[in-house]
Subunit: 315 residues, 2 copies
Amino acid sequence: MTTIRDVARISGHSVATVSRVLNHKKYVSPEVRAHVQSVIDELDYVPNDMARDLSRGKTMNIGVVCLNLAHPYYADINAGIMSAAFAAGYNVVLLQSKYDNEQERKYLEQLRRKAFDGLIFTTHNIPVEEMLPYRKYGPVVVCHDPGDIDIDAAYSERGPSYIKAFMWAKRHQFKRIGLLLPRDPALSATGAETIAAYKQVFGHKPAPSYTRIGSMTYADGYAAGEYFVTRGLNPDFIFANGDDIATGVGQYYKDHHLPVPALMGQDNQLSGQLLGIPTIDHHYRDVGAAALRLAIGAAHGKYGLHSDFLTRSGN
Amino acid sequence: MTTIRDVARISGHSVATVSRVLNHKKYVSPEVRAHVQSVIDELDYVPNDMARDLSRGKTMNIGVVCLNLAHPYYADINAGIMSAAFAAGYNVVLLQSKYDNEQERKYLEQLRRKAFDGLIFTTHNIPVEEMLPYRKYGPVVVCHDPGDIDIDAAYSERGPSYIKAFMWAKRHQFKRIGLLLPRDPALSATGAETIAAYKQVFGHKPAPSYTRIGSMTYADGYAAGEYFVTRGLNPDFIFANGDDIATGVGQYYKDHHLPVPALMGQDNQLSGQLLGIPTIDHHYRDVGAAALRLAIGAAHGKYGLHSDFLTRSGN
DNA sequence: TTGTACGCGTTATCAA
DNA sequence: TTGATAACGCGTACAA
């Protein structure tokens, strides 16, 4: 491996001068610069990023904690993070979570150990409070509304769209409303916001028997359909946390030759487009881009972005 | 920042001993080990990964070049890479390509500069020959059959499944077969394999007018449907490079109240499952896991994995 | 078993 | 405008 010292020795200049040429710094005469550059080219020398990182104290990469890349939330938010990172010269280190507290703590430790310059939690299981002590090692960003907690955050303002969605349901006179949530509302902001919007629109909490948690995939939706049918709950409207999931619900009804209740999804996915059901577009790409700017220290604070309720009535 | 030297000074031992304790090496007496560990705990010291990387000459991360994470091919292959990487203690650095030669060369340069220990091209635009010189800086892995070229590779053996798929079409007496390919077969192995299988089964090349390239998304499928209809080509079977894409084709026909031709997709996606059309499962997760083992140097050579043709006739 | 001292390759400081 | 040298923080021959 050829090093900066080889270039220095062969060019007859100091490593300091070679370093200046490499980094396009001032205070190098044109002649010296040209000569050093010619030696660099001749030796086909490139600097070692590990040494550069250590010397500069920066890794130029950002850790991103994800649950499941196949899920549209993560796919979209990642796409936003990636393109913003590329533009800023950063690399993205993908970290999988699986809602495992130990793993998440390990990633915080990696931040402390300077494995990356900043950390984005697109999802997390540990309480935000546990992240706070790590901010002294670099920016820690979450992707939901952190409330009063002082931590950098980029997220979709889902509340207003949820309210629009339930208003739509109310206008359509739906009475028995099924709710599919990703996780226990006590633990997940998404679920809590859904419940809150429901309460605001209908004046009361959703019935527990009409609320299903742990809904993440098409198969979960299908199982939810079976649940509603076999219990004889007979919902006339089902609000799912994803178009794919809503589609799964509908498929159960179709497979059993039952009339499909009105469905609503989220994330503006292909499956929902095919069914022509209403959805909510959370603009997760923009959320990802904002999160990255926070993670590289180019911004600070809380960024709540708007989401859009789409009826897709044109389909 | 507290360093190994602080631990050494305060514990009254040498940095070498502290290093041995940190890395659980032999030749440290139990008493000394316990005492040093107590000082480590007390100071809440953790080693700096950048310094460790430089000293060891390894970064413990693998670069993965991707086109589009939302696409099932990349989502699945990435899931396989990620879980194998996690198991082996490596981090995954996601790199986007967009079929830009300059970007791909930049990633090879990053390998040379020790930004990562190995590089996986889940897709690439530059010729494989251009990668060969970089193998001296670390493993370079491609995710398709490289033919005679001597480079590490993990990929799905698509040919046999393509042949099964076309045999199925032949048995069904389809005569006018539309073919949707991701890219020009001259540039893409996928396309070339599809054409080859077609030729082997039907004894002749597909008609150019029935072959569409640049097919990647649902929207492309929809456009392909329009193409077939407006040209009056009237295909009785359409073989698409993805279930979503096949679904797009079908949707065009439905939207225009035309009888939908027989469809076949790939990647075993939700949309194809809904339609109950045949598909091919390429097992990209396994491909990803194999690619990672190559990228960390735990294996060498070419790994062609089997794919499965699924009729989904049960639906 | 322990400690000294050097190497890893670069950037940055300061004197010249 | 240049160059010598000290960081950066850790691992590890080699000596003791």
